[in-house]
Structures are given as C-alpha cells and as structure tokens.
Amino acid sequence: MTADAPLPELAAQATRAAHEIAGHCPCTAAVLADRPDATVVRHAGVVAKAHAPGTDPAALALRLATAAALPGVFLPPLTRTLLPLGALIPGPRGTPARNTAPDPTHRDSRHPRQVTLWPHGAPVDPEAPDSAPWEAAAVLLARLHRSPVPSPAPPPMRGPAKAARALARLRATAPGHPAARPVERAWSTLPAWACDEAPMPGEGALCHGDLHLGQLVRHPAPDGPWLLIDVDDLGTGVPAWDLARPAAWYACGLLPPDEWTRFLTAYRAAAGPAVPADGDPWPALDVPARALTVQTAALAIVRATRDGRPLDEIEQAVVDACDRMSGLPPELDGGPAK
C-alpha cells in the first residue's frame, strides 16, 4: 500500500527539493522518523515530512500558515503550500511548478499523503537530556501563547484529541491489563473538554498541542536559536496544555524539581498567560497534567503489551500517579467533571 509506505517516494522528493534549492548538494540523506503517523526524511539541508494518512489538507494548511507567520517561534517552512507526496516544490513566483504531476505509480487518490518541506535544524541530543533547553522551550511557548490568533484561525489544538486517542488504543490493545483500571479511573475524573468530548473552555490561545523535547530544534544548526517544530497539533485552546507534559513528569516524580522550576520560572518571566504570574500554578495545570499523565500511562501499557514485557519502574510511576488521581477531584479551573 503506497499510502502506508511513503519512504522511498518521500526520500526522492526531499532529494529533488534539496537539489532545486541548493543547486549543489553534498547528498547526505537520513530517515529521521518512520511511524504510522508521520514519515520524516532529511536530504542535506531539507527535511520532508509526510503527514499522517487522512490528514485534513485544509486544516493542515491553516496550521502551516499559522506557523509560517511566527518565525521567531516556529521553524519557518520552506514552502507555504502543501505538496502531494511525490510532487516537486513550486517554481519561482509566477512560474508553474516544474513537475506538478505526482509519480503515476502513486495515484492513490483516496488519501494522498500531504508533504511539507522544512529547513534542517539541530534537535536536542537524546543522549544528553540533561542539556534540555527548558528555559528556551518556556520562552517559545510564552511567545506562542501571547501571539494573536490569526484570521482565519487554525482549528483547535489537538491535545485532548491525542489523549482520547491514547485511551482508545489502550481499550483496543490491552483492556484487560491490570494497570488499565487505574488509568480508566483517572480518565473518568477529567472534565469533558479534556477528553475531547466538548469544546475547550476560555477564549483560546495559540497552542503547540504536543510539546516534548523532540519538538525543539536549533536553526540554523548547530547553534542558532531554539525554535518549535511540528505543526500537526497546533491550534487554539487551553495554553496550560503545553506546560502539562513537564508538569506531569514533575508530578509523577520523574522530572527533578529544579528542572521543573527552571521551566516554570522562565515561562512566567516571559509573561506566559497559561498560569498566574505567581502563587500556586496547579489550579491551572491540574486538568491538563492529569490528562497527559493518563495519556502517557495508556501508551506505556500499549507498548509494554505489544513488546510482551512488564511495565518498567518509570511507566509504573505514571500508572501509580493515575491511581492516586482517581480519589481526588480535579482542582477548580477546568469546569465540572463529566
């Protein structure tokens, strides 16, 4: 199925785009990610991302335009239009693209994979997470959350939808796992909006929607400023969601208090609106941090089940946090529980 195996075609597309942009090319290539929801390949300075099958092109185009309008926050895309898998980048302004017809062997018109092109940026070293740029991440989020929502606005950010999808995967793959019960109970404490069953409350700020350390790159590599990547979940919503993964890691006892404090302090110093400027941030963070703890636990159980192994101590710590949650109603800030 071509829609599920875009790698060779995407690699060729990245190669052609890199050659078109650079003229000369050292021709170095790498597969950066090949998952069901995204395939990402790099060729020299160009990174091509094939978005998930079934991605709504109109929604993705709005997300791409939103990111392109925030050059100090998001990595600026190389092109502002979506490309079908296999197409060449558009020519100079006013001239038609030189090859707009996709490869005839890949005329899968049901779900053409959408491709976006990006400059290469240097990611956080996965082998050295202690060097995590917590302050830079916090400042980028504060800037994003304070940016006016453009018109037309992007769709809602997809944080709650991803949490709900994680629960659906848990129910589909490991409903009988002993750890599934505390996770389900914790999920039931959440208000409907956090489960993607109702619109998010409030006016809605621009949110990344899926912040983790893999969503930061330095551009230009290797020592340019840090910028956010990945527009797939970008949209309007509750900005505390973007703080909630580090908050959840801290609450679960995984992220050391000083790293959480560095992140939160930098966010507040940059006038980020997701939490009050001082005092206890947890009334604002509680619901999203619960949701991301549940999401993390659900996906950990799915992975452990798939690999046929028990939960490790880190995964168990996240499940234990779900277990403690189920007896405690969420802090006031996120509307009534469902």
């Binding site: 997470p129 991803k162 983790h212 893999g214 890691w249 679960c252 995984l254 947890w282 619960r290 101590e313």
Partner: protein
C-alpha cells in the same frame, strides 16, 4: 538585608560556625555561596553512620495532591527518579 520572598527583615545567626540569614517573617533561610556545602559537611560529620539526605536549599515547588511523594515536604516516599535519568524516562521526554 530584606527577605527576597516576603521583604521582612532578615537576621543573622551563627550555626556551627556558619553565618546564615533567617527571615523574621516567613522564617526562610538565605545561604551565601559555600554555606550550604559547609553545613552539609558539618552534618555528615555529625551523623557519620547515616548517609545525609540530598541537600535541598529551597523547599520543593508546589505539586498536585496526586503527585509522587517528593523528598522534603511530602516526607519519606521513594523520592524521584530524576537523579539517575532512567532510559525509559529519556524516551518519554522525546515522545508524543
């Protein structure tokens, strides 16, 4: 000097030869450079057989009631895993 947190005046005390400032309002303690190390050293001499707890200059930041028991305010518990960054947590830091 004034307390950086509540702005009440701070008073100087001498503990085992180490000068520390304590706030008369919130009772918070201000340590100069090297003083925490000096206190930790003194403490470890005092209680040789028991390993000293991890030094913590300031209380842990607020956490939700469902949070893991951290050292210090929540008392006891297994502490957190952050000191020896676990491979599994390293993976978690980078995944959706």
């Amino acid at each position: 000097m004034q307390c950086p947190k509540c702005h009440a005046p701070m008073h100087t005390y001498n503990r085992n030869g180490v000068q520390i400032e304590q706030c008369s309002g919130c009772r918070g303690i201000f340590l100069d450079y090297g003083e925490l190390e000096a206190l930790t050293r003194l403490e470890s001499q005092w209680s040789q057989p028991v390993p000293p707890p991890a030094p913590q200059a300031y209380p842990a930041p607020p956490a939700p009631a469902w949070g893991a028991p951290h050292g210090g305010h929540h008392g006891g518990g297994h502490g957190h895993y952050g000191h020896h960054r676990h491979k599994s947590f390293g993976h978690m830091l980078f995944s959706s």
